[in-house]
């Protein structure tokens, strides 16, 4: 019996959708101070996270989030069949080094900031197809570690343009399972590389917007849906500039999503937090999805959400050699199952959302 079906050009439909049974996130102080601060599970003390280097700080934070996501549903490491992860550091070390503490099959992925959606899509295929019963998808990014790899030393006084984005310090993990969960992934659209010639590594939002637009159009075409099918369409880290560009690119193609569209990079910081055009980095869409979107979906504030991870696949070397930035966007559909699982959402958020739902149904009654 078929477990999956290809829809159109780039979309996979899961006939028996993989379930999200647990999700967790750990962020930095700046992210905690943002509008979604109360949703995140844990916060690290400072950039060093009690470690000697920023890279080790990122690794420790990622290890902690993996333990947390398992602990929430009382699973042990050996009940996981595969880990799927990637990050922005060279050779994706944050993910590889964490995985050495987990005696479990491991698939390292690189999709830059699209990694969360990428790992959910691949993990979904594994679970849905029967290759695994339970997988963990995770990713992370760290402001200082990323900044020094891709740009200049952190304390160096170069002036940033206002459209530059701020790399999120944060890590998110989700467990996909063949058991009943609170949110399910009925389909995913794998993106293709789009490069419209943006060269400026300070302007990732502009570089990635066409890739996001392409995947959204492709997804709607493959599934035969209208944008209004979704309560929310959310991109990973386009920031303010990329967000406006995406809306315009889609409008030109006759696709209007402005009523139900948002961007994790714009959602994660307040405008007075000096974060430029908004958040970016693998952690951006990971923490927003793991700790904000999933509980909202599970409690029915949104029923159907299209999440896009957006990645700029450049290296500091290619920029110096005058190359343009190839970009990609992967989309996954997140849908309410009607069941509540203990793994999704912090206890305080769960009770808040549950009360809200009760009140709403009370009013209707």
């Amino acid at each position: 019996m078929k477990k999956m079906k290809k829809l159109g050009q780039q979309t996979v439909k899961f006939i028996d959708p993989p379930q999200v049974i647990s999700s967790a996130s750990i962020v930095g102080k700046k992210e905690e101070a943002g509008p979604l601060g109360e949703y995140f599970d844990e916060v690290i003390s400072d950039g060093y996270n009690n470690q000697k280097t920023w890279e080790q700080a990122q690794i420790k934070m990622t290890e902690d989030v993996l333990n947390l996501v398992l602990e929430k549903v009382k699973l042990s490491k050996d009940q996981i069949d595969c880990l799927l992860a990637g990050d922005l550091l060279d050779q994706t070390i944050a993910s590889n080094f964490v995985a050495r503490k987990f005696p479990v099959s491991y698939l390292g992925l690189f999709g830059a900031c699209s990694t969360m959606a990428q790992s959910l899509a691949v993990g979904g295929m594994m679970v849905s197809g029967g290759a695994a019963n339970q997988v963990v998808s995770f990713t992370s990014s760290h402001y200082q570690a990323t900044e020094r790899q891709f740009r200049t030393p952190n304390e160096y006084g170069d002036k940033y343009p206002p459209y530059k984005q701020w790399t999120v310090t944060g890590t998110g993990a989700m467990i996909l399972s063949n058991q009943q969960g609170g949110v399910q992934i009925p389909s995913a659209t794998l993106g293709k590389i789009i490069d419209l010639g943006v060269k400026d590594p300070n302007d990732m939002g502009s570089a990635m917007a066409p890739a996001a637009a392409d995947t959204i159009i492709q997804h709607l075409e493959d599934t035969g849906r209208d944008p209004s099918y979704y309560d929310l369409i959310v991109t990973g880290d386009l920031g303010e500039v990329g967000k406006s560009l995406l809306l315009e690119l889609l409008l030109e193609k006759g696709c209007s999503i402005q009523d139900n569209y948002d961007d994790c990079g714009v959602m994660i910081y307040n405008s007075n937090q000096k974060a430029g055009a908004g958040g970016s980095g693998c952690g951006c869409s990971a923490v927003v999805t793991a700790s904000y979107l999933l509980p909202q979906i599970m409690y029915g504030n949104f029923n159907k959400v299209l999440v896009l991870g957006t990645g700029a696949l450049l290296s500091p070397l290619t920029f110096l050699q005058g190359e343009t930035i190839p970009c990609i966007a992967h989309a996954v559909v997140l849908e309410k199952t009607g069941q509540l699982t203990p793994g999704i959402g912090r206890p305080s958020i769960r009770s808040k959302l549950a009360n809200k739902v009760e009140n709403l149904s009370g009013n209707e009654g």
């Binding site: 006084g157 170069d158 940033y160 392409d214 560009l245």
Partner: protein, 148 residues
């Protein structure tokens, strides 16, 4: 609906439309203000040192050292890069900016050890300035020699 089929030129125009830019006038004045202030502080230090009886050339050398120290300490406390977000060229051009360009990578690459980390990377920002500084000094020397 169809695929995104913009040319690079068309998209570039669209990007320009949405990309916010700092006001050139504001940048000019904030750089002038902060850069000028750093020079003013330098001048005050020179005057004070001359007042204590130092020769002007010695006073100027000590002033350079003091400003380098100030730039280095402000970098260490994480203040200099914040100031630079406002001042731009105003904090890069003075000698304090050079101190910042040396201390910032030194702080950062200490994580990879003192020899192959700090020792190797300390000039990662200032390297081009040093290289082309030496080259231009050489060229000026040649011109001076030719002109007699």
């Amino acid at each position: 609906m169809s695929q995104i089929d913009k040319t690079q030129e068309e998209y570039n125009k669209l990007v320009k439309k949405y990309q916010p830019s700092d006001s050139k006038v504001k940048n000019f004045f904030s750089a002038y203000l902060v850069g000028g202030l750093i020079c003013l502080i330098g001048q005050i230090i020179i005057e004070l040192l001359v007042g204590t009886g130092l020769e002007l050339t010695d006073a100027a050398s000590y002033t350079g050292l003091i400003l380098i120290l100030v730039g280095a300490v402000l970098t260490g406390f994480g203040v200099y890069d914040e100031l630079a977000q406002f001042a731009g060229g105003g904090t890069i051009i003075p000698i304090t900016g050079f101190a910042n360009a040396i201390v910032a990578p030194a702080m950062e690459y200490r994580q990879e050890g003192y020899i192959l980390g700090l020792g190797k990377q300390i000039y990662s920002v200032a390297g081009p300035v040093i290289t082309y500084g030496i080259l231009s000094a050489f060229l000026i020397g040649v011109i001076k020699l030719l002109l007699g």
